[in-house]
Subunit: 255 residues, 2 copies
């Protein structure tokens, strides 16, 4: 472990103990984001955080790269044979490959049914190599399972898509998986690693990120633009995994 | 007005008076959806409803077409000059043009900053011509402004993106715009026209649509997959327009 990592771990642990997080961006709000994706990605895992960044991009200069193994369009279509033969799975074209990715302040690893594929070794290697080079790692939904496959979640706390819970946590036997968090902020190392629960919870993580590293005013601006009522308490998880895969509540009026 | 339209209007009005909605699908859940979009569309306006339909597509056979003026990829990039020069505005490639659109049970007109463009005459003509041929029209966010430009909202009730309220309602001088609804269901004619407020409220409209025309169980399944806490009361609008563009609440913990 190099000096920077040692220092980062020290700041992270001391921050955790004191209840004060270290700022991985040293007071300068992040500008460059990279979204890492793969075949059969989940569309809201990508476009939820992206919508937040697009709105934020009218207040701050924001750069978003879309990173995959090649520059070919990547389909969101499920890989499994679907006997219902439903359609409506568009592609997203990367701007960069894992071989020429730009410098990033923040890497966002998304999820989706394709994250269990055996053909993602190059993507998984990239996560392992790139993570120490970014200032913050964010995983959305089952993206934490993909990050776990690379080893970067070893010794960390994380959460994931609650409906996929029993399957995903097997990818991280050395990770402390928290089943009742809307999102988790592990600040114990460098970079910090924040992981969201499923799909729309990524909006809550991202808006909390904006509040933390830009301002509450910016987060409120984006929430209003999206007409999205934020969940601001990561410990209030309406979909907490309790071993039976039942959601406590899917309807706001029954809270 | 032809016989079918007259009958539709009659059923709509009687349904409204009796409090029972007519079923435009005659008991057979809809299968074919078309998402109509244009340059500088809002990404969640498209991908929010799409995520719902993709999840529903694992329970029912669902077909989703992506319809634009040509088959060229359509960029989500803002048309206005942005001095911040932010990046991160991917394209979506249509599956159909407005000249060869398939038969649709449901047409979804999305919004986004591009809806004010003067170059959308062909898209607006298409909305006017296609609407009488579909069983249900849905607008998301400022998509209701585009629908209003075509005339199909004349004499109807509708709502739209609250942050864009004063601008959008000018497109529909003959529309009754409701400023304090999360979404609006106008059942007075054929097809029925449902309009959502901004961006994420489209998820609530779509999940209510699934509950209404598929089942509550299906809507709950999709909500759980998305880990999305539904707003189930269209009259509970946290972002109601009150003339000052202030949101009542962007944070769930302050409700």
């Amino acid at each position: 472990m190099g000096l920077i990592q040692t220092f980062g771990a020290f700041v992270g642990i001391s921050g955790l103990l004191s209840g004060v997080m270290a700022d991985p961006f040293n007071g300068t709000p992040p500008q460059s984001y990279g979204i890492l994706f793969f075949p059969a990605f989940d569309v809201i895992d990508v476009y939820g955080p992206l919508e937040v960044l697009q709105s934020l991009g009218s207040l701050h200069h924001i750069e978003v790269s879309f990173i995959a193994e090649t520059l070919e369009p990547v389909s969101s279509e499920r890989l499994m044979v679907d006997k219902l033969n439903s359609t409506g799975f568009p592609s997203l074209t990367p701007t960069h490959t894992i071989h020429d990715s730009p410098e990033l302040d923040v890497m966002i690893v998304v999820g989706g049914p394709g994250m269990t594929s055996n053909n993602l070794n190059a993507t998984i290697d990239f996560i392992r190599e790139k993570t120490p080079q970014v200032k913050q790692l964010i995983t959305i939904c089952t993206g934490s399972g993909l990050a776990a496959r690379s080893g970067v979640l070893d010794g960390k706390m994380a959460t994931t898509h609650k409906t996929s819970w029993p399957d995903i946590i097997t990818y991280g036997p050395n990770t402390t998986w928290l089943p009742d968090k809307r999102w988790v902020e592990d600040e114990s190392g460098s970079p910090p690693i924040w992981s969201s629960s499923g799909v729309s919870s990524g909006l809550d993580l991202m808006l909390h990120f904006v509040e933390t590293y830009y301002s509450l005013e910016n987060a409120t601006f984006v929430s209003k633009m999206l007409e999205y009522v934020r969940h601001t308490d990561p410990n209030d998880d309406p979909f907490a995994y309790n071993g039976t895969l039942s959601a406590r509540n899917c309807r706001r009026d029954r809270n």
